[in-house]
Amino acid sequence: MEARRVVVDPMTRIEGHLRFETRMEDGIVVDSKCSGDMYRGIEKALIGYDARTAQQITQRVCGVCPYAHADAAARALESAMGLQINENGRLLRNLTVGAYHLYDYLLHFYALCALDFIDVTAITSYQGRDAGMLQLKDWIGQELNSGKVFPASPFLPRYQAAYSDDRELNLTVIQNYLGALPMMSTLHKMVAIFGAKAPHPVAIEAGGVTTMPTIERLARYRQWLGQAGQFIRNNFQNDVLGVAKAFPGYFKEGRGYGNLLSYPWLIDRNGKDHSFTGGATINGQYAALDIGKITEDHTYAYYTAKPDKTIKPLQLNNLHPLGYEEYLSEKKKEGGKYTWTRAPRYGNEIMEVGPVARVVNTYFAKSNPALTQRVDKYNNALGLTIHDYNSVMGRHLSRLVSALVTLEKLEEQLEQVVPEESGFIERSLPRNASGVGLTEATRGALAHWIETDDKGLIKNYEMIVPTTWNMSPRDASGRPGAVEKMLIGTRVADADNPMELARIIRSTDPCMACSVH
């Protein structure tokens, strides 16, 4: 039996600093470890800050999903205030955060993942008249003949792997890769209309959204939403389905535990129902959400040990990172700590969060007929069942479903905004209060917990974010985390070019800066 250790570090085209390590026997992964390699300590640094500051600071945990942190922080503070925001506030927040979701799906699919499946060198056979494609073709041609040390960077070097050999698919996706960049910029502009800017929209505050929805702003949003809708319904949908059809085996690869957690997201105007119902599916059984079941363990994370391994949110008001010496000694230990990412658990279960959880939980809850119909349609067309969503391609497909459901909701809610009426209610800071804010980032369930002191300053703050769930290390019980589990059992054709593993990791859309914060 041939055993081999494979380390990929740094993992690129994700957010942040990720290292992963696997042990293979006869080309099959038998063990894996994922390490989040950056620690900042924002959560506990917030103690003593004005509670309203949390919204602006916590969104800077991540430049890819700042909108979700802004939303969760504002909701946590609203929950501490006992404040219900008004209809316009809800709608404007959805329009801002929703546009950001659409941006994020395009970023993830095109910029981060597509070129793991699509052969970028196919551009050399391009025969059409698109100016951008011709520019890319000429450039790649020149670069490959230039004798330069780094020709055609950043597209080369890359893993040698079985990329798509479908010329049409390759060329279409490359063309849409180029087209997605200006479309992402348009979606960021939609965020900026009500959020003031993107990344890091400032205008989502506890109380609603500070921007007045003028007729002119609504009209601009409508125009850009139209363009984004066209791109998502045509180019994005066709490309995701094209890649899914070209790589059907990836509906079997990268299977995790299949335990799925999601929070309610995309609220309706009246504040009653959500497009995506929260909940937890464990062993195939869906149940309503109970956030009291959430705990965190850091047996394998680089923090000083605590006697209680399963700590509830806000139970810790300090988290001591290991000093350099302790850290170095841990690294040398066999079976020691190996990541800054902690291990959140839901009723002691290891959960996957993200688009699959959002889609599957909503599907099982039977709460959104539009979503159910869309999932059934894709399942019929691709010969899938809902259980195949626990896979690499299931994650990409779920992003498409999420994008289309979100798009429709934004189109509907844009027309419900009452022009020239404020979407913001002001309240003073809550003293000696606590609250929790739940939302979904594109990459999954996000929660912020806040506790304030007698001056309204932050007494404690806790974030449990999507990638912390997915990139969780082992806990005291020793079971691998969600993504670690997905890698195990994978057959890798060439250990020097472990593309199969890269595809699995990227399908979960890691956001490492969020995961550790």
Partner: protein, 305 residues
């Protein structure tokens, strides 16, 4: 579209980016005929959130494709490069050993008190910044974290994060550093700076903190749409009220930036136009312990200052 026509559209974009003062259409034609004129870039993330990278992709005046194919060789970028794992370390080792001229772009703060708080390829980021920074012809610190520390060294942090120029000073690295604060970076600032370097061989002129005067010579306050309200002491008392936002915690008077000229996201909006006081995200005081609504903020700006 033939090549000359394609270049004309790029030329219009350059005019829009404000770079026509140092780059003529003839320069552009010459650059197109001579691909070696393209500037080499190596981009790293230290303790960062990737927000500056995402913001960079929003550039509208010049397309990302034009930047990649006509103005720059993006040798490495953590979010765009297809290279991963060992391929990355091979590129970075090769580039630092090659003697080739390149600009080093850094996003994020540098944790020096806890070197293990930011690693790449099992090495502290300090190793990579020193290795690549010391061999670069010049460096660009992008975003408030790389320039002033920003969120990565807010009060209460333990990692001892410091900005790029402070790190160079500590390591005795003496090359030029230009600073482009903003949380996140404004893509126009970077593209202008890169074009300037590519065609003039130097950075645009800067203030004492290394920031281009073109963008940072005035405060947000000096160009504010509510400046007349401020002069007449007409202040907003709550969000949605008319008037100057100073009493709601606006940081415009302390923040040097061109927000009120070029706005955000292709001038789609500005924080102040969105009814929100400036949070000073490009300033050396960012982030403050109190940012909104509390008049007694010791770091804030009083009506009389």
């Amino acid at each position: 579209m033939n090549r000359r026509e394609a270049l004309k559209t790029i030329w219009l974009a350059i005019v829009a980016a404000g770079a026509s003062s140092f780059l003529s259409f003839e320069d552009l034609l010459a650059a197109d005929a001579n691909p070696d004129k393209r500037i080499n870039l190596v981009w790293l993330h230290a303790s960062s959130c990737s927000g500056c990278s995402c913001s960079f992709l929003n550039i509208e005046d010049v397309s990302v494709l034009d930047i990649l194919t006509k103005f720059a060789n993006l040798i490495f970028h953590p979010d765009l490069s297809l290279a991963t794992g060992d391929q990355v370390t091979e590129i970075l080792d090769k580039v630092s050993a090659s003697g080739m001229p390149y600009l080093f772009v850094l996003e994020g703060g540098i944790p020096t008190a806890m070197p293990h708080a930011c690693l790449m390829a099992d090495q502290p980021i300090t190793y990579w910044v020193e290795k690549l920074g010391s061999k670069a012809i010049a460096s660009v610190g992008i975003g408030t974290c790389a320039v002033f520390g920003g969120v990565t060294n807010m009060k209460g942090m333990e990692t001892g994060s410091i900005p790029l120029d402070a790190f160079y000073a500590r390591k005795g690295i003496t090359q030029a550093v230009i600073n482009l604060p903003n949380c996140p970076l404004k893509p126009e600032h970077l593209v202008y700076t890169l074009l300037h370097y590519a065609y003039k061989g130097s950075f645009p002129s800067t203030d004492s903190k290394g920031r281009p005067l073109k963008f940072f010579d005035r405060t947000v306050h000096e160009h504010c749409i509510f400046y007349a309200d401020f002069q007449e002491k007409h202040y907003a008392r709550y969000i949605g009220d008319a008037g100057c936002l100073l009493k709601l915690g606006c940081q415009g008077p302390l923040t040097r930036n061109d927000c009120l000229i070029i706005g955000h996201n292709g001038n789609t909006n500005i924080c102040i136009r969105a009814g929100h006081p400036c949070i000073g995200c490009a300033s050396e005081h960012f982030p403050r312990r109190v940012m909104f609504h509390i008049a007694s903020d010791p770091q804030g700006v009083s009506e009389d200052s």
